[in-house]
């Protein structure tokens, strides 16, 4: 979406339409092929500079963006909080301006503050890509999830997707609710009420407290990582209770006649939201999501940087 500065950004799924989503997915499909070549590099973004501004711990998303940028021949710089001026009290605005003054074409930002990528677009003169902002959105995750579903199941329209876990704190869930809704899939959120945000149904999702109800309905079972640090925040009683109610246990899995596509944004907590045996069985899908992540991020970087100004 072009911002006030004339640069193109990717800030949220909510601002994309169905056509734009498919355009990115199609583009990702052609970029996926690059990763299968012996020489995994195309010159699409040669001479462009991308900064990974990661203000919150992240391994896979940062590495995925880094690999994606490198496969497009862009120059990549990584910026982490611990060794940065932000830890010395510099504001995000000043940090952003300083980085961009070095001649940067795009900032990929991961931040614990919802809306920080939006605000950054008002402060810096370059493209901004949201790599996850607080509890708001994680648009490239949703795109790679849609990419995976589409490749594995053939299409997205009419798919029944159940998302299980701590919806309230999940930017992955929010982006997927938007994205799946836009492409005509059906979303069911599976969680105790204490892990669901207010009026989430109005975002276009059904809600249930019963995993078994969802299992009987869904084509895709999307498990969220349960964040251990939430356990003592009165949201749910214990991991044991969570696993009993919402874990994809071996028993639940074995009982299913029609097995859904099981997906997980990682990192997994084996034995909590997914039994270890089930995780092994569905591993190829989950690692497939990771590979898709590179292709999708190549598509996004190319769309934001290459598509518009070439």
């Amino acid at each position: 979406m072009p911002g006030a500065s004339g640069h193109k950004h990717l800030l949220s799924i909510s601002e994309l339409d169905c056509e734009e989503i498919y355009k990115l997915l199609d583009s990702a499909r052609s970029f996926a092929e690059v990763s299968n070549r012996p020489v995994k590099k195309v010159p699409a973004l040669r001479g462009r500079t991308i900064v990974n501004l990661f203000l919150e711990p992240s391994t896979r998303t940062r590495m995925s963006f880094e690999v994606a940028a490198k496969r497009l021949s862009a120059d990549v710089m990584n910026f982490a909080t611990s060794d940065s001026s932000l830890s010395k009290g510099e504001s995000l605005k000043d940090t952003g301006k300083t980085i961009v003054a070095m001649g940067v074409d795009a900032v990929v930002i991961r931040c614990k503050s919802a809306g920080a990528p939006h605000l950054l677009t008002e402060w810096v003169d370059c493209s901004v890509i949201n790599a996850g902002d607080g509890m708001h959105e994680h648009p490239t995750q949703a795109l790679l999830d849609l990419f995976t579903m589409r490749e594995r199941l053939g299409g997205l329209e009419g798919l029944n997707v159940a998302i299980v876990g701590d919806i309230d704190h999940s930017r992955v869930a929010r982006s997927n609710i938007h994205a799946l809704g836009k492409v005509g899939a059906n979303v069911m959120l599976v969680a105790p009420r204490s892990l669901l945000p207010e009026r989430v149904e109005e975002m276009g999702a059904r809600v249930t407290g019963s995993l078994d109800e969802a299992l009987n309905w869904c084509d895709v079972l999307y498990l969220l990582r349960i964040q251990m640090e939430r356990v003592n925040q009165s949201r749910f009683p214990s991991l044991r209770e969570y696993t009993l109610q919402y874990g994809l246990t071996q028993t639940r899995w074995n009982r299913l006649k029609r097995k859904p596509l099981v997906m997980h944004p990682g990192p997994m907590n084996r034995g909590v939201e997914i039994a270890s045996g089930v995780a092994d069985e569905v591993e190829s899908v989950i690692t497939g999501q990771v590979s898709a992540g590179v292709a999708v991020r190549m598509a996004v970087l190319y769309d934001v940087l290459g598509g518009s100004r070439g």
Binding site: S91, R174, E198
Partner: protein, 450 residues
Amino acid sequence: MLTFPQGFAGEADIKVKGGLIQKIGRGLRAESYEVLDASGCIVAPGLVEMHAHLREPGMEYKEDVGSGSRAAACGGYSAVFCMPNTDPPIDNSSVAEYVFDRGEDEGLCMVLPHGAVTQGRQGKALAPMGEMGTCRAHVKGFSDDGSPVADSEIMRRAMEYARTFDALIISHSEEPSLSADGQMNEGYYSTFLGLRGIPPESERIGVFRDICLAEKTGAHLHLAHLSTAGSVELVRDAKKRGLPVTCEVATHHFSLDDSSLMGYDTNLKMNPPLRSKADVAALLEALSDGTIDVIATDHAPHAPHEKETEFDRAEFGCVGLETALGLVITKLVGEGVLSMEDAISKMTVAPARLMKMERWGYLPAVEEGLPANLVVFDPEEEWTVDPAAFKSRSRNTPYAGWSLRGRVKHTIFRGALVVKDGELTAGRDAVLSQVKTRGGNGQKQSQANR
């Protein structure tokens, strides 16, 4: 020219002399006085702000008594009550007198501090309300605004103690455990934006507790900046039962709702937060039926770096003194929620009565023989809000670029013309001590004699 709310509404000339309204009548002779053309304008008592943060002492980079007074005068105010969340806090007579004296030194409006309920605003030990009440500042309103007294036992004793001194407890009512880490109203938009919500129930529970305690103690409770339908319903019920409870609404709570936060503008981050459209509708109804006594601004200046930051790191609040009258006329009078008389009354007579301002000899009326604290405003003039033109030291307003109707032309404080044609007069020393305002149908007079 209209004057009110003392029952007189019509055209007249007003002669101001020696700090007093000397004469009101038609066809007064100009003699040697400066004549202000007020045709088409309304002359009302100077506005009274019941809830402002002037930041002095301690946070003068946001605002001080001088810049706050200038903003107030330009907004049409003749008196501003300021909150004690300063550094050091206004929890003793020394700081109270300091702030009061600073206001007198500036001489643009009365600056009247509210005192803290508890020492250091810590919610633990009562502040010396008796001493603050008898000091030069005559503090009679007590509030730990922004840090609500969480402990119900302390609040109970504070009300009992305040009642002894005929003082008012002003409560920012909130159940803190429900709003911890909250950034905005909890609802669809907080879910969409991924911002931690502040449920309306946190205010409602706080209001309910405080009304219960007011009922028990008989103390006068004034509820600050109510924002939810549930809260005003509780006040409506309390008033029906004859309890000593009053309340206010802040201008942003009736003019904006939480849907405006899409886009993460930190100037829209308030505490209490901007609520839902249904809450706004309930506030308008409560204004209309008299449940809400006072219109305040909760003027909360913040420096740019405190707002140009991530939403969850940004400070709460917006400046309000220079947009209040325009918002009230545009949103309340213009849309038929309140008559002009009732609207002005909620910004003058009502807060003055609650704060018993006769203590300072302050009487908000346009009447012969009274001190001349007046605002002259054009209820029809349209203007565009330009934060760069604010006299406040801070610019954190959500109304930049808004077109408002109703503009302050002149402000007269203790007989001195402190704002003329929307601008501060050149300097206090040069201010005329004798002013005659004059109006009439289409009569254009602007001769200025000394």
